[in-house]
Symmetry: C2
DNA sequence: TTTCAGCCTTGATGTAGGTCAATGCCTTAG
DNA sequence: CTAAGGCATTGACCTACATCAAGGCTGAAA
């Protein structure tokens, strides 16, 4: 599962696109790349478990990672889905003592970069700019989680699902008012804290009411204004 | 509500105890204090509203602040309660564009310090150590919010309440197995995403079962092992 | 082509906890 | 002392969603 790096491949351009590395100079980036590892995961393969010592953080290159918790009864709740280009577990750099707070597993075949916390932290010491970027990203995550808690406590399942669909809508809304679900419905359901059965029923009801049309993993949003009205959302998305 | 500072008072010792200021040198701290403001809030008085431009962050000196959201129907959900010594809204320094993500209001008479984001950020540029501390604190918040989401989605109201009580238990468990609720039950209920009626009923049931004893705002934990068993919690608290 | 495993859907039923409403404290103000 | 407003408690009822169970569809493996 874990590669030695092909030393001829040049990852610098790819990495610079990730905000965590965009402020590093060439030498710094080279240092990161030197100890970086490439990891391949099969569908269903675990990356780390909750409680494992958190010595590394990750950037998804392709595929999809789910971060999840398990209840004592074994129920799974997906906290976050990590898509290509996104990083995760980097916020733990500063409190690694407790270990990873979630399990991480590949939803599908996935390729990711892994980085050593200490190496990266050493670089941060020389780059306040990078510190600021990292803090901005943490701040954004914090903000997102507040929205998450808000949705879970103040809004019902239909709201959450519709909000999700609208948020997944690509930019050029006019041309393509449809959403390609990134993964199995049951996975998205867990992400939204909804049972698969309920998820299915809500989609069925929205279809019956003519608001959407479902065709496998494609959801066509037939009446976006009505959907927006349904959730009466003055919030900014995200 | 907002004071000019009595220039003779020396707040440096008090501030140094807050982690955000512990790494600053004397000059830096003096600069912070120069523009710091002292704010008094009456019970029920609002500090800021969700969406207000976030130009300042705060440290509670005494009293209690609630950070909350409102649903379109006007239902209130307390996201966090901020006790003396704790700071809040400092994570927004790096994405103030969006404004405060919550409302803030004094639950009781409250006194707090307020600081300018830009002044503090300027200092951060000279103190990577302070950056690291801030990041550690943000990381901790992130972690706590994951636990929060976990509790909301994987655990029922009784679990949440019992977990709260156990977590509120003072260190010297043996001598005083009782918890002094920091504020009105209805406030704690909202913090835990429970209706006041349900909160009351759960306390009543736990009393009937002999696990606790309630006397106004004091809750005596009569059978801590049983309470722990009830929530079967291998998690670390917090 | 057949088979099997995953996933999805749909129906029937159960339940935690929310809502509504009445009543009973305390506490503060007069 | 009395009144009034806020909070807590208790009961009756309701509903959103979970759970349990039974097919059905699809796509990959044999």
């Amino acid at each position: 599962m874990e590669h030695d790096l092909d030393s001829r491949t040049d990852f610098t351009d790819e990495l610079r696109r990730a905000y965590l590395f965009s402020e590093l100079d060439d030498d710094q980036l080279a240092e990161v790349v030197r100890e970086m590892r490439l990891i391949d995961l099969d569908k269903g393969e675990r990356l780390f478990e909750q409680g494992d010592p958190a010595r590394r953080f990750f950037v998804v290159r392709r595929g999809l990672i789910k971060l999840y918790r398990l209840s004592p009864e074994g129920h799974e709740k997906i906290i976050e889905l990590i898509a290509p280009g996104q990083s995760f577990a980097e916020a733990l750099m500063f409190m690694a003592a407790n270990g990873y707070p979630v399990h991480a597993e590949a939803v599908e075949t996935t390729e990711l970069f892994s980085f050593d916390n200490e190496v990266y932290k050493a670089l941060l010491r020389d780059s306040v700019e990078s510190c600021f970027r990292l803090m901005a990203s943490m701040s954004m995550r914090l903000h997102k989680q507040i929205n998450e808690i808000d949705r879970l406590t103040l809004h019902n399942a239909t709201y959450r699902l519709v909000a999700y669909l609208l948020q997944e809508l690509p930019e050029e809304v006019v041309t393509s008012p449809d959403v390609q679900l990134t993964t199995a419905k049951s996975v998205i359901a867990s992400r939204l804290s909804i049972q698969p059965e309920t998820f299915s029923r809500i989609l069925a009801r929205l279809s019956r009411d003519g608001l959407i049309e479902v065709e496998g993993n494609r959801v066509l949003l037939r009446d976006i204004p009505a959907l927006r009205r349904l959730i009466e959302l003055p919030d900014s998305p995200g």
